[in-house]
């Protein structure tokens, strides 16, 4: 299933969000329909940004005056080509370019963007009132995480700027974050978020499998499968639920059917932590550990995560790879985070090193 969904809407300002041109007359008027759409998109967990040819300070001041500056992350207000601004926004969020939509009243701007980055969905500002009805603007579920999504990203921005101003090795910086990684069995209330992650995540997804809500309910209730979710927190706040694993358990051997981590936490090494947890569990239960892997053009980084954690390829046929984990290589969790394993069947561990 690859229904395209928009993760970020980039807005123009003059004659798009407001009537009038700010540099000509500062008494611009906010468009009612635009603000309705912006608030609802925010509620749906769709992030928003700005690409406007304007002076940065007056434009931001005006957005603050209207009380809507908070809705826009990484606003690009400059005189560069809008295609360049949108590329910057895409890099900042690290979304696929095809998950970005752009709203502008000027055909010239929409065409400039389409010419350079055809994957972006360009929308005429005249059609603002139709945006909320577009299929790609409707996520399957709205979870607590989606309503918080903008706040979660703002936490990230704070973290990143703290990291940039930190002088010293990256590991030391990670130490200062007081990260806490909690692994639990997935419960039904987690499943909407799990489904959302399977639809949205491509790079850190071992098989590209998209599970529906109903399929996930069956899996968590099945004796043959374990579904784990991982939550990450640090001193700046929560990251929310950022990883899942679906493990098929048979007598004496386990098979990781899916390992998926949110790309937002890619640089924190959490994929390796999740794998270590699974390897340690398998070792405790004296089970051999295998993993399915379906290489896509986007998940090579997940392949590297497996290999470097001590998995080897034992089969590669028709686009399906089978890996086996060397359980003696599971090693220790990194120093810079505290791992809490809330798994009832086995021991309750709080492992901090």
């Amino acid at each position: 299933m690859s229904r395209k969904t928009i993760k970020c809407v980039v807005w123009d300002l003059d004659n798009t969000i407001w009537n009038g041109i700010l540099t000509e007359d500062s008494s611009v008027e906010l468009k009612e329909e635009a603000i309705t759409v912006i608030k609802e998109l925010d509620n749906r967990g769709i992030l928003q940004s700005i690409s406007s040819k304007n002076e940065h300070v007056p434009a931001m001041e005006k957005l603050k005056e209207f009380g809507i500056d908070k809705y826009f992350l990484y606003p690009q207000i400059n005189w560069d080509a809008k295609s360049e601004s949108i590329k910057k926004i895409q890099k900042s969020f690290n979304f696929g370019i095809d998950s970005i939509a752009f709203v502008d009243d000027q055909q010239f701007e929409r065409e400039e963007v389409s010419f350079s980055i055809p994957e972006v969905s360009c929308i005429d500002a005249a059609n603002i009132s139709e945006i909320l009805n577009m299929e790609e603007m409707k996520p399957n579920y709205i979870t607590e995480d989606s309503k918080q999504r903008r706040q979660l990203y703002m936490n990230d921005i704070e973290r990143n700027s703290a990291e940039e101003s930190y002088i010293g090795p990256k590991e030391e910086f990670l130490n200062t974050l007081n990260m806490k990684f909690t692994i639990d069995y997935a419960k039904e209330e987690d499943l909407k978020r799990v489904e959302e992650l399977t639809v949205r995540t491509h790079q850190l997804n071992s098989t590209g499998t998209v599970y529906t809500y109903d399929e996930l309910v069956e899996l968590i209730n099945s004796d043959d499968y374990d579904v784990f979710v991982a939550q990450l927190d640090d001193k700046y706040g929560e990251y929310g639920k950022i990883g899942i694993s679906v493990i098929e358990k048979k007598q004496g051997f386990w098979n990781i059917k899916l390992l998926l981590m949110s790309c937002r936490v890619m640089s924190k090494g959490v994929g390796a932590v999740m794998l270590k947890y699974i390897m340690k569990s398998a070792a405790r239960e004296n089970a051999k550990l295998y993993a399915d892997f379906i290489p896509t053009d986007r998940n090579r980084i997940m392949y590297i995560t497996y290999k470097f954690a001590g998995f080897k390829e034992i089969m590669n046929k028709n686009g399906l790879v089978r890996l086996e984990g060397d359980l003696e290589k599971s090693g220790e969790y990194p120093d810079y985070l505290t791992v809490i394993e809330n798994i009832e069947d086995t021991h309750i561990y709080a492992s901090d090193f």
């Binding site: 010293g168 640089s267 997940m302 390829e313």
Partner: protein, 77 residues
Amino acid sequence: MNIKEEVRNFLSRFVGDKTFEDSDNIFENGLANSLFAMQLVIFIENNFGVTMQNEDLELENFKDVNSIVALIQSKLN
């Protein structure tokens, strides 16, 4: 720049001011930060014009400067 110098140059961007020997393990305790590993693989492929196959992607081949240089040399021959 020779292969070793180019590799060291790339790695120095990630290790900050710390000096490191050619045989120092850059992935401590076998804990690869996979994002860094990915960037390293892409750097090697783009900079030296070689392709890392699945079987090349072993921690052993990337654990220190010497191993990385040896891997690149084997791909170039």
